[in-house]
């Protein structure tokens, strides 16, 4: 029982990372129809920014950590903004070129990070309470897992509020259906694209900080490793569906963790890929995917 509870809550922590990365991808794809492979390197770069900030402090405190998180979010947003303005916008309407450009950015940024800070892992100091555990249902659950879950829930709520309760969300939901008509109503859709791409970057930055805390370290390929699972969550959940991405992230992480524990270490990755294949065969649009719709 204890093992099961630990696995489930650990899986939810992992699902949180998948979801936070996938949610940014989903928002960007939902409005702009851009599949960006640069999202993983945005996460990595943001994690490195968090590490650079945190290591400037002598002792690991909560305040230090928060500063690192804010710096990572800002870095993610900034690199996304620059990418949208300099790469995505000039290639507007050329989906293949956009996709290939983001692959190029990803390769270049990872190479830059490796060239600057080396290929090895750098440790990230976290406050003592984040290394401790909390008893839940008789099982000691690492606090970092609970932080990840809380962060993912907060992100989900924030996105739902943004899309459902604000004028900007209205523009996004309408733009997903028909961006041309939105512009004919006097709304600058291009600016909405830029804002949405930047929000995706902010989420990648947040994910970068959380991933650095979770693994208590940063490596040049940490973002790309997570990006694969985020893409699978995006596809299984349904491209452009935030709710679908959340459900898929939880389902995939649970399946992955349970398979790793009960079948064999490494079996989880195979199970995830199989689940994606089965989903595509049975329901090609994904769990909650709809044509031209952001749920």
């Amino acid at each position: 029982m204890n093992d099961f509870v630990l696995i489930v809550i650990s899986a939810l922590g992992l699902a949180s990372l998948y979801f936070i990365l996938a949610s940014g991808l989903s928002l960007i794809f939902g409005l702009m129809r851009v599949l960006t492979f640069a999202h993983g390197c945005f996460l990595t770069l943001s994690a490195y920014v968090a590490w650079l900030v945190v290591r400037e402090f002598e002792s690991a405190s909560t305040g230090m950590l928060l500063i690192g998180v804010v710096a990572a979010i800002a870095a993610g947003g900034l690199i996304s903004l620059v990418t949208e303005l300099l790469v995505i916008r000039p290639l507007k309407g050329k989906e293949l070129e956009q996709l290939l450009a983001t692959v190029g950015i990803s390769v270049a940024v990872v190479a830059l990070i490796q060239g600057t800070w080396g290929p090895d892992q750098h440790l990230v100091e976290v406050p003592a309470w984040l290394r401790e555990s909390t008893g839940i249902l008789g099982t000691d659950i690492p606090n970092i897992r609970l932080v990840l879950i809380a962060a993912a829930v907060a992100v989900l709520i924030a996105i739902k509020v943004l899309l459902g309760r604000t004028r900007y969300g209205l523009v996004v939901r309408a733009g997903v259906e028909n961006a041309e008509m939105v512009s004919a109503l006097g709304i600058d859709v291009q600016r909405s694209f830029t804002v949405m791409f930047t929000i995706g970057g902010l989420l990648a930055g947040f994910g970068g900080a959380l991933t650095a805390m979770y693994y208590r370290g940063v490596t040049p390929l940490m973002g790309d490793d997570l990006l694969i699972f985020a893409f699978i969550a995006l596809i299984v959940g349904g491209l452009g569906s935030i709710d679908g991405a959340a459900i898929a992230a939880v389902g995939l992480a649970l399946a992955q963790s349970l398979a790793n524990f009960y079948i064999d270490s490494g079996a989880g990755d195979i199970v995830i890929v199989l689940l994606m294949v089965v989903t595509l065969l049975v329901r090609p649009q994904g769990l909650l995917g709809q044509k031209e719709r952001l749920a």
């Binding site: 004028r167 209205l170 259906e177 008509m181 109503l185 006097g186």
Partner: protein, 248 residues
């Protein structure tokens, strides 16, 4: 439905407008004026460039030449700037946002800092007030057309571009919609694309006939609809029947 002589200065003037979709040239030097406080109807067979003229004005198509509105050349502006300059658009296929409610569709059309007139909209289409929380995608074709028209009327536009508003509607709905449009056009300048000649005749002050991306006639509605034979020749349809009366 003449509303008296048009003002001397046109609201919109197209001068030598050429437009392209991809590499294909579709408009070949369009010249005409849209007089103020009048309804100018674009007539022509399918595919001759009527909708493309509206889309060029809105900045959806790559075009050259001059499209002058309120002292500005619209060819230099992005679409949202064209709309904000005071141009409302009612598209051919309604293009309401299916995943938004009626109220959200209208709220999206509100322009920041501008006065919006919900009273005018609900006076014309009282049904919309009752259906404000209904998803636009679940409305009938006629109701969706009301939403589409209402979006354009919410703001105080100087010019309305209306593309085949009666397309796909039942005869009863066409009659209702044209009656509503007759009220709308009382105090607004309108450039209308309409294939339903009976509806066009009821609304038009001025007629521009397009063929193969060029203007082939530009004259008053009375003159154009008064010569059914010529109109039939130009359009290649049974326009003589339409020329006989507004309810044919």
């Amino acid at each position: 439905m003449s509303r008296g002589p048009a003002h001397a200065e046109p609201t919109l003037r197209l001068t030598d407008v050429h437009a392209w979709i991809g590499q294909s040239s579709i408009l070949h030097g369009i010249d005409f004026d849209v007089p103020a406080r009048a309804v100018t109807v674009l007539l022509g067979r399918n595919g001759v460039g009527k909708t493309s003229i509206l889309r060029s004005i809105l900045g959806f198509l790559r075009c050259e030449g001059e499209i002058r509105f309120d002292g500005m050349d619209l060819t230099k502006l992005p679409t949202h700037r064209v709309a904000l300059s005071g141009i409302g658009y009612i598209p051919e296929d309604r293009d309401v946002f299916h995943g938004l409610t009626v109220a959200e569709n209208l709220r999206l059309a509100e322009r920041r800092g501008a006065t919006v007139d919900y009273g005018r909209v609900y006076d014309l289409f009282p049904d919309l007030a009752k259906r404000s929380r209904q998803l636009a995608g679940t409305l009938s074709g006629g109701q969706q057309q009301m939403v589409s028209v209402a979006r354009a009327l919410l703001n105080d536009n100087q010019l309305l571009l209306i593309d085949e508003p009666t397309k796909g509607l039942s005869p009863r709905l066409v009659t209702e919609l044209v009656t509503s449009l007759e009220k709308v056009v009382q105090d607004t300048t309108v450039l209308l694309v309409e294939q339903n000649l009976a509806a066009a005749r009821r609304l038009a002050d001025h007629v521009v006939v397009i063929d193969q991306g060029r203007v082939v006639a530009d004259e008053s509605a009375d003159s154009m609809f008064g010569d059914g034979e010529r109109l039939r020749d130009m359009l290649g349809v049974g326009s003589a029947r339409a020329a006989r009366g507004p309810h044919s």
